[in-house]
Symmetry: C2
Subunit: 247 residues, 2 copies
């Protein structure tokens, strides 16, 4: 068990977890933005990552169910608006589907999750279950990977635009909105956590929650890397190039 940390020491400890465990350190991230992947490997990433995106508003709705304070819910619900948009054809999820469109996937196939890696499903469901089952403080703390996402988004967009002729500023539009949204969301969650993690036990639980979430994101890249890059062994039933046209 850690000893009590001041709020700013807690922030330092949280940022240190990101510095050691955030998926920007995963070899797949380097390959993705460094132009080392072929188009089908980028497609596998976009397809599997869709399921994570699709469950984010479900995860945030789950967090809303844990909040019995209208002022908190008013702030948190903005995350759902960001992902789901205000009308058909709007929102972050739609923009992710524009990316999978541009990579040649039929929408029905993407939305069906038919070709998803089972490990993607298990990791994302672990995240949704975590925010359902753990105390609200931990559920909020698990969102703090967004503290580290502006950097990874900038690297990813710049690198992908430079490296791949099959992506464009337009097809990567998802990330434009996320830069400002993630900073705003992370600032709020960080202040909440610093204010409410008032004992060493609660502070440890907050650090553990962020570690857990880093594990989720890392596992997603592990699964994609294993199935489609090295050694490149998709499990039975998972998407292989062309499967999206036969289903």
């Amino acid at each position: 068990m850690i000893s009590w940390l001041s709020p700013s020491e807690l922030e330092t400890a949280l940022r240190d977890i990101g510095g050691r465990r955030y998926h920007s350190l995963h070899p797949f991230h380097g390959m993705l933005h460094g132009g080392k992947l072929n188009r089908d490997q980028v497609r596998a990433w976009a397809l599997n990552r869709y399921y994570y995106q699709a469950m984010i508003p479900v995860k945030d709705a789950m967090i809303l169910t844990r909040m019995n304070d209208a002022s908190l819910r008013r702030i948190w619900r903005q995350r759902i608006v960001d992902h789901d948009g205000t009308s058909e054809g709007d929102g972050g999820l739609e923009r992710w589907l524009q990316l999978t469109d541009s990579l040649g996937f039929p929408r029905d196939y993407v939305i069906s999750n038919a070709g998803l890696l089972p490990a993607t499903r298990f990791a994302v469901e672990a995240y949704v279950n975590f925010v359902r089952d753990r105390p609200l403080l931990e559920a909020i703390a698990s969102s703090l990977t967004e503290l580290f996402s502006p950097n990874i988004i900038s690297e990813r967009v710049a690198g992908m635009l430079k490296s791949y002729d099959f992506v464009s500023r337009e097809t990567l539009a998802y990330f434009d909105g996320r830069l400002s949204q993630a900073s705003r969301d992370a600032d709020f969650a960080l202040e909440y956590v610093k204010h409410n993690a008032t004992t060493p036990q609660l502070q440890q639980s907050v650090l553990d929650a962020l570690t857990f979430k880093c594990d989720v994101l890392w596992s997603l890249l592990d699964a994609i890397h294993h199935a489609y890059v090295s050694p490149g062994l998709p499990p039975p039933g998972a998407w292989i190039p062309g499967a999206e046209l036969r289903s």
Copy 2:
């Protein structure tokens, strides 16, 4: 949706899933029993697989909570007895710990799950959640991977004994009991499923449950293979050789 199958056609369809998706087809299995792994890779397997073993009686207890028929529960509870034993030092879980003992792991370390791959945790938890959340028929059907386990156990024990000087008949004692237990358990579950899956919808749900369970087992080997064999990239915080002595 499938059309209605006779009970024996349903059995054939279930066995066909095993023939295509059971983890005996995973490259890691071939390497394990073919003597292609080094001791640390076998250790990684035993360590991660412990968590699966440890959650099996929890999974079976969850299934008991879904059964409102004493005669069914009397049969199913034997699975918990087999894993937990009738006294300290007895049972399948204890025998698995004798395997991890013989591979040089402190018991406390194994039981703590401190070095577990996150993907192992997520897959095993997905299995426990499945039997909690799905209809009893599907929960029982998900156990049907045991139909295929006598073959894999025979291959594994014979191959490991032949290939590795660091395992012995005694340290593999876990598998001795499982040969007869798995056949008995699978026979019962198969008859239950054949008798109760009386519509095409229920039959499809049973086939899907077995597919799901094959995905769980395959994911476990994927995660171990990725972290410790190829490319060999353990995620941050996961066991690396020696970590069990420093914790």
